[in-house]
Amino acid sequence: MNKVIRWPGFIAFVVIVALIGGGTYLFANSLLKSLIESQGTNLAGAKVDVGRVELSLSPAGVIIHQLDITDAEQPMQNLVSIDSISAQFNLLKAFMGQLIIHDASVNGMRFSTPRQISGAIVKKPKPTKVKAEPSFVEKQLTSLGKELPDAKGLLEREPLLMDERQKILNASYDAKQQAWEKLEPQLPNEKKIKEYEQRIKAITEGKIASLEDFKQAEDALKQLKNDIRQDKETLEQAKTQLKDSSKELSQQLRDLKDAPKEDRDRILSTYTFDQGGLVNMSGLLFGETIRDNLETALHWYERIAPYLASEDKVKEVKKERAKGRFVRFQEEKPYPDFLIENMAASAVLEAGAISAQVRDITHQQAVQNRPTTLHVHSEVLRDVKRFDAKAVFDYRGKKGYSTADFLVDEVDISDFRVSGGNDFPLTLQTAKSDMQGQLRLEDSKLSGQLHADFAQASFLTKESKGLLALLSQAFADIHQFDLDVALGGSLRNPDISIRSDIDKQLKDSLETHVKAQVDEFRQEIEQQLAARLDAYLQEYDIQGFADNEQSLEEKINGLDELLKAKLDDFKDQQKQEVKTKGKEKLKKELKGLF
């Protein structure tokens, strides 16, 4: 037997194994402490401190005492400070590469606790603070805060469309007036037309003794008509020019007359608050708070979800060379590679203690066919009678989904800052509220709703001016309201729609006061604009152009009449003369008979 067995070798093996095992056990605590601190620091981007680590073999477990995770943004403050974390795990499964934690507890979580020494790891250059743009709510409220100015003073300062159009009309009127004044002396006047009449009369009624006389008269009439035609043409050109000028000036005058209305509307839209804005006042006021909270929740969800998502797809085809793969077989009680069956956590918040229970935390939910569930509950919060939230993260199927339901009973709200703008800081000073909501996220699609009732509400605003003073009064009158929030859209781009009866209350209260004030302002503006328009209109005699045009028309008609004048034919004239003479002779003879 001794030929085959080497007893010293056996003893050496046992000693070596014992040394390795014992050494590991002895140094495991400090090794694990260093590992948690270094890995934690890498992950958190700021120092992670561990007070002490205790490993135990029977039952296999670990206790981490006093874990402090520094807030990377504020190195003198801990993001979270935990009194102790304990976990009991299956040692044999751990050797098989499966971390199965049956029970875990996180005790005494505190947030934003002060640190004695800075937890910064790298001194980053402080980003220069860009002055934040005022929020949408602030912009809206700032516009409300503008006091309605004096109408007369406002019109002196404001650039008006009416003034601009008056300048255009003025320039056009002056140019056309000058052109007319230059043209008018060149036109045939009344005297010249009379002269034409006399000359025609002289020619047509003059005595024609012979054919020679007739031809001379006919040539003179022809020459005269040519002169008249030239003058008529000049008059017609002048008339066309006058007509065009009159038309253009009339259009510009109409534009000028329309300008006050446009000026009034623009001024009212700038200096008064559109009543329509009150329709969604609650959306303006509460929207950003709700959006901020939702974004925070979704941000954390996005960080957690990848760890819960199924990794079946990865397992199906992954074959690494020289490492092989682990083939799974049916198990009586299957376990995933990582599992925390039951984790209890307690946190000490500023508002009081809160406890949470998480079950089945794993990235392979399909193995056990159970979703991860979370239950947060508290009945000892300072300003809340009862808080209860339940969430389910179900990633067993190909399309995972998450749901959350929460209920908050009798919240005592005090000094809740609704709007932080300088122009209209609005604070919900006191209120009692009951809230409940549901949220569902499936395939990156978000849906959910929140309903809250507020009673014994009291809003506080600072002393304001203008329409804000009325708004402040309207808020002061609100003591009870509700709020309904509907959520939709996607994880990255959520849609939030807010409805509240606060809108109706505000609208009712403001409508009468605001309307009266705005009406009065409108009337003042209209009067001032009308007065200024009247003054402008008196400067122009557009009708003068029309009158001149009429006068030219009459002259042209007169010349047309003159051009109709004709000279009788010489033969006809002789016949007429003979006829006249014969009649006179016959008359004389007949006179002798009686």
């Binding site: 085959v4 067995i5 056996f10 050797f95 074959k319 060379r321 020289a322 490492k323 092989g324 793969r325």
Partner: protein, 169 residues
């Protein structure tokens, strides 16, 4: 490595039983072919320590067989895949899968399964062949190799003598 080689030559030329050298060779092959981080490694190491196995031969075999293991790994994996997914064997594997100890031995890993099966199958042939080779070497080649100039030079060189002294010391 040179030290191991010199030591191995000394063992070959010494009076250590051929069976011990052959067993060392066979166990070295097992350690080289199979994944190290597994339960069976402890068992093999225990056997090497407890049984009168030549450890130098084990180390030399590990070095040589490790070079072979790289190109052979895909074949081990293919064999393991075939065995573990063969429908006829599912009952056995499923029964084994319920045992934490066997799970700890990574029997369900395709590389572990394939390489262990090959190692077990080759253990006896490697043992007997290498034993035979050691015996034949000592009978037929040991004197001839001892007379080679290079070996004489190696034995006479200061470096070699120092190396031997260091190893003996």
């Amino acid at each position: 490595m040179l030290n191991q080689l010199i030591k191995f030559l000394k063992i070959l030329n010494g009076d250590i039983a051929p069976g011990q050298i052959a067993a060392g060779f066979a166990f070295g092959m097992v350690l080289a072919f199979t994944p190290f981080m597994s339960l069976h490694t402890i068992v093999v190491l225990l056997l090497i320590c407890v049984l009168r196995v030549n450890i130098t031969a084990t180390l030399v075999a590990m070095a040589v067989c490790s070079l072979l293991a790289w190109p052979l790994d895909p074949y081990f994996i293919a064999l393991g895949e075939y065995l573990l997914t063969n429908p006829d064997w599912q009952g056995l594997w499923t029964a084994w899968y319920q045992s934490d100890l066997l799970r700890l031995a990574h029997f369900n890993n395709t590389l572990t399964m394939g390489s262990i099966v090959v190692s077990i199958a080759l253990w006896l042939p490697v043992f007997f062949i290498s034993r035979l080779l050691v015996i034949h070497y000592r009978v037929r080649f040991m004197d001839y190799i001892g007379r080679l100039r290079i070996v004489k030079w190696l034995k006479a060189s200061r470096f070699t003598q120092m190396a031997f002294k260091a190893m003996e010391g």
